[in-house]
């Protein structure tokens, strides 16, 4: 992540338009909630970017703030990299502060593409779970073209990232100074730094929402903890198992084997194989959305709903995310209260 300004500079600037929210971000900037991962954000602007000009100038000008970052969506006029914060809540507040400053929406805006960045490089299979969980759990179902996923790093000589939903970092700046929970059950240890020197798994949300940022943060936490022996490892592995079973029940288990992230492995270089898997997922989700709508229209009384072995993949993923969010928060609170049973 290349940004040549501090969060303090940004907050000082935003304070004039959103003082209360800025104070909240400043206060909790490094505060990690329930052992969830820190959150970084990149904002790709597909329009002419004029709404950002005052902000960029005040932070030091385009040369210092934007041009230093070679990476961006190929259609974007600018990519603004935000300094990472301790929680999804702070990240959402920070975006709301910027919205108020620039006087233009950032959430659910087709001209704004939000990239959510999580620390830790997930292996290919876990990257698949991150992408699929994000997609099915989002409040918006999207259709993609490969152009939507084209960035300036598609065919980069050193760090080719391909056209994917999940992208690894390009070994730029990395802020390790966020709490990392390790241990298990009653033995929770809080380290003041993340357990890796570098590495991120980013997700191109498209026009993202608050829910997307929260879901990605939850999914990335479960998967990264499963991979790096974090405190939530057990919960993360349980999640992986349940997600795998869910996909199997919908005959979508094969999707996980597609290259959802471009790793150093040459076998993962095939954009088309990834895109075929993504399109299959998208088609299945859209079909399911139509089924739910029709069910709601024709069977408006719950007792008229025909019995089905499944509630449908969209509702099942919602339930899964709610269950794991609830479980994580419950266990964290129990620990804080001193009752770890």
């Amino acid at each position: 992540m290349s940004y040549r300004y501090s969060l303090e500079d940004l907050l000082a600037l935003l304070h004039s338009r959103a003082p209360t929210k800025v104070d909240a971000v400043a206060l909790h900037r490094r505060r990690v909630e329930h052992g969830l991962l820190s959150v970084g954000l990149k904002i790709h602007c597909l329009g002419n970017g004029s709404q950002f000009s005052t902000l960029v100038e005040a932070l030091g000008g385009a040369q210092k703030i934007l041009d230093v970052n070679y990476y961006k969506d190929s259609r974007a006029s600018l990519c603004l990299v935000l300094p990472p914060v301790g929680s999804a809540r702070s990240a959402i507040l920070l975006l709301e502060c910027i919205e108020q400053f620039i006087g233009s929406a950032l959430f659910s805006n087709p001209e704004i593409q939000i990239q959510a960045c999580s620390p830790g490089r997930l292996i290919a299979r876990r990257s698949a779970f991150l992408a699929i969980g994000f997609y099915l759990g989002s409040d918006t179902l999207r259709r993609y073209t490969l152009k939507d996923l084209t960035t300036s790093f598609v065919t980069h000589p050193h760090d080719p990232r391909g056209r994917r939903l999940v992208l690894y970092d390009a070994e730029g700046d990395f802020d390790r100074n966020f709490d990392w929970w390790k241990g298990s059950h009653k033995h929770r240890l809080v380290e003041p730094q993340l357990p890796f020197n570098n590495g991120r798994s980013d997700l191109l949300t498209g026009s993202g929402s608050r829910l997307d940022i929260e879901n990605i943060n939850l999914l990335a936490t479960l998967l990264v903890h499963a991979q790096y022996e974090g405190y939530w490892k057990e919960l993360g592995m349980q999640f992986e198992k349940e997600m795998g079973t869910l996909l199997e029940q919908h005959l979508l288990a094969g999707l996980v084997d597609a290259p959802w992230v471009r790793t150093d492995d040459a076998e993962n270089g095939d954009d088309d194989r990834f895109f075929a898997a993504l399109q299959e997922l998208v088609a299945y989700a859209f079909e399911e959305a139509v089924r739910i709508k029709e069910r709601d229209r024709f069977f408006w009384k719950w007792r008229d709903i025909p019995a089905r072995p499944s509630h449908g993949i969209l509702q099942e993923v919602q339930s899964l995310l709610q269950k794991y969010r609830g479980e994580l928060v419950k266990r964290s609170r129990l620990f804080d209260q001193g009752d770890c049973t």
Binding site: A18, D23, S138, R143, T145, F286, K293
Partner: protein, 65 residues
């Protein structure tokens, strides 16, 4: 919108995004217009004059046990 067309059939418009019907939309909480007022400082309740005597009795009982 994506326009899809097959030879011999009418082109159809396919929406690029639709709301996920499984997600219940949450009404955004309006931003506070001013900082919340500070809570008044609570003064500790008065302690009974003979509180230390109770303590002595309790510790005596503990020792006796």
């Amino acid at each position: 919108m994506i326009r899809a067309q097959q030879p011999g059939s009418q082109p159809i418009d396919i929406p690029e995004t639709i709301p996920n019907p499984a997600v219940v939309p949450v009404q955004p909480v309006p931003a506070p217009s001013r900082p919340a007022p500070q809570e008044p400082v609570k003064t500790p309740e008065k302690v009974p004059a003979n509180w230390s005597a109770h303590l002595e009795v309790d510790s005596f009982r503990l020792q006796a046990c």
